[in-house]
Symmetry: C2
Subunit: 348 residues, 2 copies
């Protein structure tokens, strides 16, 4: 056992670790996570993102051996670009550390479908939080499909929890689909608002009440304070009229200055209240179970897809029909009909 511990110790040394990163074995990962080794956690998340079959298989093996962890909270943090998500997470995460919590920050980056660019970019993020030994900040993932990224984020949550982090903050850019995907892996969601948000012609953004368990009006400082207060009142009223799925909960609206670190304690208290209320009514557990079944179904569907398109008969017929379709010699409906018959035969 001492030998193993020595190895782990060595791995924490950056020079040594970079050299041996690709040689990490299942036991190294399991032990590293158990020891809350942030370097190993980082390598484990990288492993998830690998497309190399051996690595992917090691990742799945690792995931299936993770211990069951209780007492964690998964928090989605969303808001329009420019609302100050990174600054808020930096401040709030640091506050959590000061309170003795262990926050981990992950990001879902729904890369633009056309440009494949990263919305979150390469900018250095959350420097103060990242420097804390009690916290873990994962840089934004490189471009990838939305589905893939969401899957990996969910798996990364499991890794962070296995490594002893108990407040998992998942940052997402507010663009509809990614918000919905994130809400399928979190216990509660914080929506960040700009002072003055909702003052425009359109009023309060459609659907926002459905995803927000907690509102934060950010940048509530200096000359924007009065505007922020008006926004707080407006959303407070809207929340009052909106029936939350969790009985007895009304999404609170907090004013925060991430820069001046004001209002962070209220948020922590609201999160704790939410967790308490939803645990008492079993809503918390039920929601996690529903999410689990959703992701299981989705992963099985993906596996079926992958294997089916590799099946020789499906593969060759599909490729031939695609060519014929491209030549304009057949309609998409005839082509689909032919594929349908083949698929039905195969599954008979």
């Amino acid at each position: 056992m001492k030998g193993k511990n020595e190895i782990t110790h060595d791995l924490v040394n950056p020079d040594f670790s970079v050299r041996h990163a690709s040689q990490l074995q299942l036991q190294d990962f399991l032990l590293g996570l158990k020891n809350s080794d942030r370097y190993i956690l980082g390598r484990a998340i990288t492993l998830l993102e690998s497309k190399i079959p051996d690595k992917r298989s090691l990742a799945m093996n690792l995931l299936s051996r993770l211990p069951v962890v209780e007492g964690t909270v998964r928090i989605g943090i969303t808001g329009s670009p420019g609302v100050g998500k990174s600054t808020f997470i930096d401040s709030f995460g640091s506050f959590l550390v000061a309170q003795g919590c262990r926050p981990a920050v992950l990001a879902i980056d729904p890369s633009s479908t056309k440009n494949k660019g990263s919305i979150l970019g390469d900018k250095t993020r959350m420097l103060s939080l990242a420097s804390s030994e009690k916290a873990f900040v994962r840089p934004s993932p490189s471009s990838s499909s939305l589905g893939g990224t969401a899957d990996m984020t969910r798996e990364a949550i499991s890794l962070c929890e296995a490594a002893g982090f108990n407040y998992i903050l998942i940052e997402t850019v507010g663009v509809g689909q990614s918000e919905i995907e994130v809400s399928r892996m979190t216990d509660l969601n914080i929506v960040l608002l700009q002072p003055g948000a909702g003052d425009e012609i359109q009023g309060i953004k459609r659907g926002i009440m459905e995803v927000a368990d907690l509102f934060v009006v950010n940048k509530a400082d200096g000359i924007q304070l009065a505007l922020a207060e008006r926004t707080r009142q407006m959303y407070g009223q809207a929340a009052h009229f909106f029936l939350h799925e969790l009985q007895g909960w009304q999404s609170p609206v907090h004013l925060v200055s991430s820069l001046e670190k004001i209002g962070l304690e209220d948020i922590k208290q609201s999160i704790d209240s939410y967790v308490r209320l939803s645990s008492e009514s079993s809503y918390f557990e039920l929601k996690r179970k529903t999410q689990l079944k959703y992701w299981f179904q989705k992963q099985v569907a993906q596996e079926i897809q992958e294997q089916a398109f590799k099946q020789p008969k499906i593969k060759s017929t599909f490729e031939n029909l695609t060519r014929t379709l491209d030549d304009g010699k057949i309609s998409i409906y005839s082509a689909t009909n032919q594929m349908q018959k083949l698929i039905q035969e195969i599954f008979l």
Copy 2:
């Protein structure tokens, strides 16, 4: 042949048709579409939406027998709620009719995932256009999955074109994912803007340049005219700096008053220019082919999914594992692992 024509004539009579709607056969549909019978077109689209296997099979049969139609333009029309899409389509569609064109209007309604409500609602829409015999207006679909609705919309386009409609207008609510799906079935997209849009803190909405081939600042009348002009200039400058995928095209920005019917001719001219330019460079044809292959792949994937989950061994193992997962007796990763092995065996 005379007999068949008589039947078709009878079917146009509402009283008769309602009674016999469910008895319509493939030949009735084919003949009705050939005769540009709007009632039959409506019934055919309803057929697409049916979940009854026999109806669905009739729908697929009908689709695979549609004639190849050329010279149509598929136009996506998007914009935030409240921007006046219905009023615009009503005015522009009527203008197209006056120009001797035959517009058909379809809508994609990405129903809210939680409330299952219809965003477009039941409101009576486009009364003036719907009353024209040269036009076809399909009321918004009832709640359904986004994917399903998008698929059906694409199939409905084929039906409208087979029925002789040549300007297919597809309305969508501006909520990210549905815009992207619509852009995968259209030749060009019009983005409607509110006067003053882009004046807010955030500036021009992220990604909007990528989906817009044509901007329309709506409600450019009365006291809003000056504001609309400023918006036109702002988007015009942005379009100037943005490299469009179609070489030589710069998305124009038109001012329109749907109420006073001003500016509609400019839009028609821009659409025609776009079609001309993109046809000359084969971009038009290439885009349609790429779209066709995308939808074919997607439909095949859906069929695989459907058949796979019906396969007895997959079905029973999946259901058992889901139960075990729900009982907390297994991790999602172990469950996925087991399903993976089974699926791989089946496809061997």
